[in-house]
């Protein structure tokens, strides 16, 4: 069973501080939905409001079409996986997993059976008798998921559950989480500040800034067609050039920037449409930049190679560009051509207009 979650004009205030403003959102049943944003953007606040630990100052939260106002966290069809997991340290693994059944008064043999089923699901068979403290980080993670699933929630809420794990395990758990979600088929709402997690796992992502949802969309939309400078600078890396809009025509904008005139697309998702004479940002992703070829007529940028970093599959090449205060970054697939580049060499770079994004000036993500 999965339920959709609707947030209707939800405001959450702590005194004079507004943690979430005017949240209007529908999360479809059975969807893997992520809230992505820097810490303090209000994503955890929204999660706590959905799970019932916080009362919205204004607006309604509906789960499966039912208004949740006045319904406590223990009577909502949601289960929350805490950032620190909050496994019960004085209970064994199976007692942890079946806590939700225990408080419902299910007898021990039945609970034991359910625990074994769930341990199978999370690939920890036969570990039920262990204490929680005896498990490794990844195993605890999975026990927390099993404990939440045992409550048979319609919506599973996850509050940055992978943040405490090391990189390898985190990548493994992403796949694991996604596959568990597909198997059980319930709605997952996932909170993270890690764009990699959000993009790999989610059907849809909401990017948040200062209590406001900046953009909602699937991973590719968020990445390729950011709706605001904040989304463009927070999700993935971008080289940014500031300038004035010369003309807007058929979804393409000409912007006179400090590094020259650049042609870039204006995404349909943009929250503020571009007008001639506006100050605008042009974003070019490192992996979209290339060395210019003779037939490239537009978007050429003159640059000097200043540094190179080797990352195995990629080379990160840094350039000094006249008119840009920050070094421009280019990612190149490691194709064995590095010997052709020399530090100090003056080259010309190019980024296809379709891969450049022009957006009206607005707040950026912190570095």
């Amino acid at each position: 069973m999965s339920a959709d979650v609707r947030l209707e004009n939800v405001w959450i205030k702590f005194g004079s501080f507004v943690a979430a403003r005017e949240i209007e959102l529908t999360i479809k049943g059975g969807e893997f939905f992520s809230f992505l944003g820097p810490s303090g953007c209000g994503k955890t606040t929204i999660l706590r409001a959905v799970s019932g630990f916080l009362k919205p100052s204004e607006g309604n939260i509906l789960i499966g079409g039912k208004d949740m106002a006045g319904i406590g966290p223990n009577r909502r069809p949601t289960a929350l996986i805490f950032q620190n997991l909050a496994l019960f340290p004085l209970m064994t693994v199976w007692e942890n997993i079946t806590f939700a059944l225990e408080v419902k008064g299910v007898n021990a043999t039945e609970r034991r059976k359910k625990a074994d089923e769930l341990l199978e699901l999370i690939a920890l068979p036969g570990q039920g008798e262990k204490m929680v403290g005896e498990l490794s980080g990844g195993q605890r993670q999975r026990v927390a998921i099993a404990r939440a699933l045992a409550a048979e929630p319609e919506v599973l809420l996850l509050d940055e559950p992978l943040s405490a794990l090391d990189l390898k395990l985190r990548q493994h758990m992403r796949t694991e989480l996604r596959s568990i979600q597909r198997r059980v088929g319930i709605t997952f709402i996932y909170i993270t500040h890690d764009q990699g997690e959000a993009l790999t796992m989610s059907d849809n992502v909401a990017v948040m800034r200062d209590g406001v949802i900046e953009q909602v969309g699937d991973g590719t939309t968020i990445y390729d067609a950011p709706g605001s400078p904040f989304v463009a600078s927070f999700v993935g890396e971008n080289n940014l050039f500031r300038g004035t809009v010369e003309s807007v025509d058929n979804g393409m904008a000409t912007v006179t920037t400090t590094v020259g005139t650049l042609l870039a697309k204006t995404p349909v998702t943009a929250s503020n449409p571009l007008k001639v004479g506006d100050t605008a940002y042009v974003f070019q992703r490192p992996e979209s930049l290339r060395f210019a070829k003779p037939d490239n007529q537009i978007n050429r940028i003159k640059a000097t190679i200043v540094n190179e970093e080797f990352e195995g599959n990629f080379w990160q090449v840094y350039f000094e560009v006249p008119g840009s205060t920050k070094p421009v970054k280019m990612s190149m697939v490691n194709d064995g051509s590095s010997s052709e580049r020399r530090r100090g060499e003056v080259v010309e770079l190019v980024c296809e207009p379709e891969l450049s994004v022009a957006l009206a000036e607005g707040p950026l993500a912190a570095e």
């Binding site: 799970s51 223990n74 009577r75 620190n84 019960f88 408080v103 403290g133 409550a151």
Partner: protein
């Protein structure tokens, strides 16, 4: 170099002195429990004996007091642990702005002198009793009840502090997790918070019991006509002390050491267990299951050893403290008699000598004092602390000793305090009054 070594010696000296200061009184008192002498003392040593334990057990007043102390202790635990827990939970719930005020108020009973608490408890319940026209048999005037409520006023604050320190380590997310999984607030409290607080409940209970057991200054007011161990002890110290009190102290010390040893073993065991757990997690070995089996054993060798040593010590003490004690005592008595006889003779000789020179009579006690050996201590204190003095009171029939004491005391007493503190003085006053009536 020299200063280095000097410093080392200074530290050593300090440590020795520190421990002597801490444990000296306890050790001396413990030794006196086994001396057959009537007054708790180490020197002169009479006979090794356990008779004072016998006296202790047969002391009805003391045993009554002990019983009352136990009842009060249990009552105080039963009241102050829940009150302390409620107070601590409250502190965690209220807003941070009022928290310091709340804390100050609930901790204040600890800062108020026990005497004040005792008197105020007494007055409060007396007024309450008067309001309901209760008679003196009612609960408003019941010493045990009043002592329980009086002590609870500040002991519950102690247990609250224990709970606060434990609660500060509680992860509130655990409570939220339980609620989120469908548990009611009651279930969350019972299944999550209470198990977490279990060790704190134990230590709060022990602390409350001990605080109640040893309390005097509140109890002395609230106990009214009843008595507790502490009030009995206090009155004993005031009206005549014997080594059965030392025997009581030894019993308490031994029990405490015994409990502490068991606690320590238990603690080491859990530590080893936790270590093994983390090791097993890191290495993925089976060390844990082995350890688990070991700790499931019915009787642990360490426990068994402690119990054996304890029983062996008891047995040895009992045997050497009962066998041959009577013979020893008789011989000591004989020796004492001879000694006293010798002293009396000496004194008579001297008095005869002084009688020949009337001019020096005033100074006589000073000159006689050093020569009387044991009776030296009587010089400044009019003889009330003289070991032989008490003996003479107890064994009033022992002729020679009696003579010596009665001879001694009034003679001394006249010097500074006109004899008002002399033991026989009161008697003679009473007698005098009787005869005048």
């Amino acid at each position: 170099m020299i200063t280095d070594r000097l410093g080392k010696y200074a530290v050593l000296l300090f440590v020795v002195m520190f421990f002597a200061y801490l444990f000296g009184p306890l050790i001396i008192m413990s030794i006196t429990a086994f001396n057959s002498a009537d007054f708790p003392r180490v020197s002169p040593w009479d006979c090794f004996s356990v008779e004072w334990f016998d006296v202790l057990v047969n002391d009805d007043k003391l045993m009554d007091g002990l019983r009352n102390s136990l009842i009060i202790g249990i009552g105080v635990v039963a009241l102050s642990v829940p009150i302390g827990l409620a107070g601590a939970l409250m502190l965690m719930q209220i807003s941070p702005r009022v928290r310091p005020w709340y804390y100050t108020i609930v901790v204040s009973p600890i800062l108020i002198p026990g005497v004040v608490l005792g008197i105020s408890t007494l007055i409060f319940w007396d007024r309450l009793g008067a309001m309901f026209n209760a008679n003196y048999e009612s609960i408003f005037y019941d010493g045990i009840f009043l002592t329980i409520v009086g002590q609870t006023t500040f002991i519950s604050a102690y247990s609250m502090l224990v709970f606060i320190s434990r609660l500060q380590r509680f992860d509130p997310a655990l409570e939220e997790a339980a609620l989120d999984l469908g548990a009611s607030h009651v279930q969350t409290f019972r299944k999550i918070l209470l198990p977490f607080l279990k060790p704190a409940i134990g230590s709060a209970a022990v602390l409350a019991f001990l605080a109640s057991f040893e309390n005097y200054n509140t109890t002395v007011f609230t106990i009214t006509s009843e008595s507790t161990l502490t009030t009995v002890l206090a009155s004993k110290v005031r009206y005549g002390i014997n080594p059965s009190i030392s025997a009581l102290a030894v019993t308490i010390v031994v029990l405490t050491l015994f409990a502490a040893a068991i606690m320590e073993i238990k603690k080491r065991r859990t530590d080893a267990f936790e270590k093994a757990i983390s090791k097993a997690v890191i290495e993925g070995t089976d060390a844990l299951s082995k350890l688990g089996r070991k700790s499931n054993r019915l009787i642990d060798p360490a426990f068994a050893m402690i119990i054996v040593i304890f029983l062996a010590g008891l047995g040895t003490a009992y045997y050497s403290g009962t066998v041959g004690v009577d013979e020893c005592k008789t011989s000591v008595k004989e020796a004492k008699k001879l000694e006293t006889q010798r002293r009396v003779d000496e004194r008579r000789k001297k008095q005869m000598f002084e009688g020949a020179q009337p001019g020096t009579q005033q100074a006589a006690p000073n000159t006689t004092a050093p020569s009387t050996g044991k009776a030296k201590g009587t010089e400044g204190y009019q003889g009330i602390f003289a070991p032989t003095n008490l003996e003479s009171q107890v064994k009033g029939d022992s002729g020679a000793a009696n003579d010596a004491a009665t001879d001694d005391a009034p003679a001394k007493g006249t010097e500074g305090y006109q004899g008002i503190f002399a033991p026989t003085n009161l008697e003679s006053q009473v007698k005098g009054e009787e005869s005048s009536n």
